[in-house]
Amino acid sequence: MRVVSVSGARGSGKTSLIRELTARLSMKGKSAAVIVNEQGDAVYEQAFIQAHELQVRTIRGG
């Protein structure tokens, strides 16, 4: 397991980049998980999670 972090201000594209990376990994048969320190709405919708067999965990606060 390799741990990769993507930091930045809200709206900077963290989720978009991670979605792009996990989708590419999924297409290559690599598995991925995400830990989100969420402050707002859920950002990984169920269809995306299922399509890419993504594990998503959320931490509140931060």
Binding site: M1, R2, V3, V4, S5, V6, S7, G8, A9, R10, G11, S12, G13, K14, T15, S16, L17, I18, E20, L21, T22, R24, L25, K28, K30, S31, A32, A33, V34, I35, V36, N37, E38, Q39, Q55, R57, I59, G61, G62
Partner: protein, 135 residues
């Protein structure tokens, strides 16, 4: 990042490692976390489980840069300084002159700065390569 939050992050990391052992685990921290703090927390857990660490990528919102530099400079630099890769995101929404100002401003804090646009794909291949290797 508070102690309980750091502890939750470590616990989740262990749980995911033990239950799924994914090839990649992405951490998407809140906007207030600086990179060194994240490095410290990411290393916690190595006592119990084995995993590789990095890279630490920081996205600098291109269109928001002026505000971030003016109002949140300490936080911005805390995220930029210790990052392995800094990507100026939404680069398609700023012009070459603005991008150049961002490069010149951050140049002394990071030698690994690229322009990124998820929308048109600019810089994406480099970020993918740095984050995930040759996938």
């Amino acid at each position: 990042m508070g102690c309980s939050l750091a502890s939750s992050l470590v616990d989740l990391k262990k749980e995911l490692k033990r239950s799924h052992d994914p090839d990649f685990l992405f951490i998407e921290p809140s906007e207030m976390v600086v990179t060194q703090e994240l490095r410290d927390v990411t290393a916690m857990g190595l006592r119990d489980i084995r995993y590789d660490i990095g890279p630490f990528i920081t996205l600098v919102d291109g269109p928001l840069f002026e505000f971030l530099w003016s109002e949140r400079r300490t936080l911005l630099l805390g995220q930029v300084k210790d990052a392995d890769l800094v990507a100026v995101s939404r680069a398609d929404s700023i012009d070459a002159g603005e991008l150049n100002i961002i490069r010149q401003t951050l140049d002394r804090y990071s030698s690994n700065l690229i322009a990124l646009s998820i929308r048109n794909g600019d810089g994406l291949a480099e970020v993918v390569k740095r984050a995930c290797g040759e996938v």
